[in-house]
Symmetry: C2
Subunit: 313 residues, 2 copies
Amino acid sequence: MGYSYAVLGTGAVGGFYGARLQQAGFEVHFLLRSDYAHVREFGLKVKSIDGDFNLPQVNAYNSVEMMPSCDVVLLSLKATHNYLLPQLIPPLLKPDGIVLVLQNGLYVEEQVASVAKIRHIIAGLCFVCSNKIAPGEINHLHYGKITLIEYAPGYRRCGVTTRMEQIAKDFTSAGIAIAFAEDLLLERWQKLLWNIPFNGLSVVLNANTQEMLASPEIRQLVLELMQEVATAATACGLIIPKDLFYERIKLTEKMKSYRPSMKIDYENHRSLEVEAIFGAPLRIANKVGIHLPRIAMLYRQLQFLDAQNTLLH
Amino acid sequence: MGYSYAVLGTGAVGGFYGARLQQAGFEVHFLLRSDYAHVREFGLKVKSIDGDFNLPQVNAYNSVEMMPSCDVVLLSLKATHNYLLPQLIPPLLKPDGIVLVLQNGLYVEEQVASVAKIRHIIAGLCFVCSNKIAPGEINHLHYGKITLIEYAPGYRRCGVTTRMEQIAKDFTSAGIAIAFAEDLLLERWQKLLWNIPFNGLSVVLNANTQEMLASPEIRQLVLELMQEVATAATACGLIIPKDLFYERIKLTEKMKSYRPSMKIDYENHRSLEVEAIFGAPLRIANKVGIHLPRIAMLYRQLQFLDAQNTLLH
């Protein structure tokens, strides 16, 4: 028997993986906000490189109070909404339940761990290109693999747990590639290697990945930003080899004209995950005495653009 | 008797100063491109904090061949067009004539000096807020002072020349404040102290001076960029005191919601003066072994945005 899943945030990531799980026969409950009425009536649609599919009927909710508690809470809200977690997660979680964190950001697991009653946290680092293109409609463009690492206090390693194995089994049977890893912080920094240059510059330069990589100047800047990520990681005792820079750029070239999630959020006047992706690593770097001038500059530019864009400024 | 003036580039700067000179009774000839037909028929209009005025008739040309040679060529083209100088300047200049360089950019005088037959070059560093708001129509918003420094090969100092004094006399009688300075490179670097942060960031952040200075993050970034300018200047033996940073910011606060010239060029899909304002100082810094990560990053961002914006990419 597989786990039951509550999808906390039915967008490009949560909507995609949740729909795949339901399609494979798992019990899935979806929390929605703006798309609630639409999804309740029409379900979810997934356009995917692996084959399009529709789920005409899904368990849709606009409040956690109405949802049953599940084995796994799939945390796929924007990290900007994490101040809501103490209200959102506890009602959804069975006593021994798991929070599967599919969010971006450094030290997001510690944030989740601070919520009462949460005993098990697994980070799921998604390497996926997907966008929500209409209410209840997701476009899955490339890739899809999730790397699972269980969190333990202080980010100590805890190997492959039975919980990770069960989630891997469920996701694999739903056609989602899964990998296991052990060093959560290393994986998080490696993810920043992509997120910092591509998410950040896509907003500042109003450009997709193809446009950015077509420019020798921006290619150079991407490498310089990656180098700053690696420098900070090294100062934390985590080695990111330079080969990985070029590997990530190669994978990005294959994405063609992909708009990173931060770009899409910006276009839709939604708050950007500036703190999770930029603020957190900058604070760590500062703590270990490392200076990241380019990342800090991009952070300031994004803080400004975010504030202007959401009209809170 | 005052000098006669040929205005090479009748935009926000050349149009404003040229109109003032004509208003004061000097002989002025204006070279125009896109506004030629309009200005030939309707003349120039100046909205100014010092008082609006119209010149219903001006000497307007669309080709240097039709213009008489003058004592002074007022060089106020965008620096991006300086490849045209060998064709444009010689026909306009009397044998002992002066090129008064009102352009932005480091080492622009050397570029002008390489044009045949030019014997006298005076840099005029304009501290003025003005925009062209319609064909033949200029809005003069704040300030207006010009600092004059005569150029000599190798940027050696040559004091206050009779040519500077004559130009000062002419401009002063036209209501334009004039200052003299001796160290041209120092003045150029000090001008970059403003141009690099405010011109550059206004394009990248799609913001005017008021919006930028209202943000604590951007204020901080402006100071960091200024520090890089000062560091590079110091490496060239030129001291920019930190007091000047705050003085420039204070003067900028008084400009209210000013859009720097680079922002206006960007909005009008004109090429940006990226090389004059960013490329040149970065090359100098590189030569003296100084690393300017933030200015280099801004340079790359602007190169990208400029190329995308002018559709040459």
